[in-house]
């Protein structure tokens, strides 16, 4: 198996989890505006996002240029599932349908 796929998928999963941390941080109450950003959730979240970015850049070296953004569209599915697990956001028929159409659009774009 091409190492590029492994790098890219790992990057997508890390990026999806980083969104969970950011949301977790956003849900808390803070004494002032700056603390909304300078807290462990947001800082770790962006640290993870940076790691994901590096992995994506490495993945580009092993995969065709248009494959990477196509794989990244899987992020919509991961975020939907993880939001259900961590924040009990319902997975509704509309969301599933919408995400499928978004991914179809991305596939068409990169044809």
């Amino acid at each position: 198996m091409n190492i590029g796929y492994v790098l890219s998928l790992t990057s997508i999963i890390i990026a999806a989890f980083s969104q969970m941390l950011l949301k977790k941080g956003a849900n808390k109450e803070y004494p002032n505006f700056i603390r909304q950003y300078l807290n462990v959730y947001v800082i770790c979240g962006y640290g993870m996002m940076f790691t994901a970015l590096l992995l994506t850049m490495m993945a580009y070296k092993h995969l065709a240029y248009r494959v990477v953004p196509l794989l990244e569209s899987l992020g919509f599915i991961f975020v939907m599932i993880l939001s259900r697990i961590f924040f009990k956001e319902e997975i509704t028929l509309r969301k599933v349908l919408g995400v499928c159409i978004i991914i179809a659009g991305i596939v068409i774009y990169y044809i």
Partner: protein, 146 residues
Amino acid sequence: MSTWESNKDSDKKANKKSKKKIGIFFLIFMQLSVVVYTMSGICGKLASKYPTLSFEFIGMYALDVFILGIYAILWQQIIKRIDLSIAYCNKGTSLLWSLVWSIVFFHEKLTVANAIGIVVVMIGIMIVNMDGTSDNKKNNKEEADA
């Protein structure tokens, strides 16, 4: 929705987080964050045109990081207010904005597949947005009070 639901089911319904529509201004605000986000990509691309560690290269990367910082501020404000699964789908328009910037800054051409793809993505995002979000601010308060 249907009359045959048992009492238990209707109790569950009543306890469910109430959903509210996402306002037009909030949708625009989300698009603003996507615009900012895609502009950082342009800076990265512009930076790569200059020799590594030249004055312009470092300047462009500094601008890139600055723009990402603004995006981070906007994004936290967004996910504080609406469901993450919905907010995240709105990032799908980055396809549109990246294309706009590459046409403006790099004179790249728009293909038919690009245009159709973007329209399809927008339809998908609209469907997700129609779902409505739970009132995150209210829910957070309730959780904090409990």
